[in-house]
């Protein structure tokens, strides 16, 4: 097998099932690239950009959570939310960014900072990808 087989599984559907040459995944401890014969590996995904290389084409996806496992050139990503570049609603992401920033600045005691932080990160990833 001279290609990486990638499956992206969501609770409601299988999003992608295809072969690629090279994949870059945003892991919790930093982005990492996967080439052929990568070691067996499990990691959590942080909000970021997933890049799929196939020939000269690069597909970019905003991914927000989940896991990736690499095993014998088969890569499986399980996640709840993933959007391709052109599926992102730029306006909505912008609004969500403003809303969350406001919430963090208001610094009330009963704010769930962890949630706000995740939400802000998501919005930033979306904006970054759809802004280009």
């Amino acid at each position: 097998m001279d290609k990486l087989h990638l499956e992206i599984i969501q609770p409601t559907k299988i999003k992608i099932q295809d072969d690629f040459d090279h994949i870059i995944v945003p892991g919790v401890d930093g982005d990492f690239g996967v080439d052929l014969n990568h070691t067996a590996f499990i990691t959590k995904i942080r909000p970021g950009i997933l890049q799929l290389y196939k020939g000269k084409r690069i597909d970019k996806y905003a991914i927000h959570d989940g896991f990736v496992t690499v095993e014998n050139n088969i890569i499986v990503i399980i996640c709840d939310t993933i959007e391709k570049e052109n599926e992102i609603n730029h306006k909505r992401a912008e609004e969500s960014k403003k809303r969350t920033e406001k919430r963090i600045k208001s610094s009330g005691k009963d704010i769930d900072f962890r949630r706000a932080e995740i939400s802000l990160k998501r919005a930033l990833v979306r904006l970054h990808l759809s802004g280009k």
Binding site: I9, Q10, P11, T12, K13, I14, G27, V28, D29, T39, A40, F41, I42, T43, K44, G66, F67, T69, E71, N72, V76, I78, D80
Partner: protein, 284 residues
Amino acid sequence: MATLKEIKLRIESVKNTKQITNAMKMVAVSKLRRAQENILQARPYADYINDMLKTLKLKNTTTSHPLLTDISGEGKTALIIVTSDRGLCGSFNSQIIRKAQSHIKKHFNVDIICIGKKGYDFFKTHSKKVIDSYINLFNEMDFSISKDVAEKILNLYLQEDYIRIDVLYNEFKSAIQQDIIVKQLLPIIPIESENVSKLDFLYEPDEDTIIEELGRKYIHVDIWRIMLESSAAEQGARMTAMDSATDNAADMIDNLTLFYNRARQAVITKEIIEIASGAEATQQ
């Protein structure tokens, strides 16, 4: 004996009822199909997480993450009871409530969590141990909704000292058959599987984080599946109930029509007799 007009009104009203029950049956059929599709689509995700958890559990016999470790002995448990939000679905809700009552009698210290309005309505008056309820969720089923429910249950389990959380729900077998199932939700017991990986994985950041996250995702998708199963079973039960209601209405219409025709005939006969006897009287 009822007058002709009364019978006619009765027939009209039964016809209306029949139309309504028939429409409800059609709606149930389409909702059932949607729930079934969702169940099928969630399967790869659920299977994959199960296989991963099984792999991790087999490899690390020493790990004692609370999501995966059985706590033996006596203690506080919780029971999640999944019923429907709406009625008119035969004995669907009453059966599950009966089962829940016997479960609660058998295990002494049981707190109750209700998903679905019918169960909540019953247990809020019959029991003082309802600690949480989620109602009116089944109308717009969405993964993010069930994920919120799952998160709250997970936090409850991790923060309070429950030794076990069980779930009681209807599983969809076929349109005419539902099975009531009691299942241990937490701590997680991964199902036996053949797809257990033998490779040694590198974990990032560390094993415990991975187990915790996988465990959470497992519960998310399990609650999602349970709610879908219950919803499919509910629609199946409603379909059967409405089907027999429609049949009964049709029978009733037949009987009433027969009755109506008899009454009509009796009236005509009576009129003819009156005319005939009147004519006879004038001839004499």
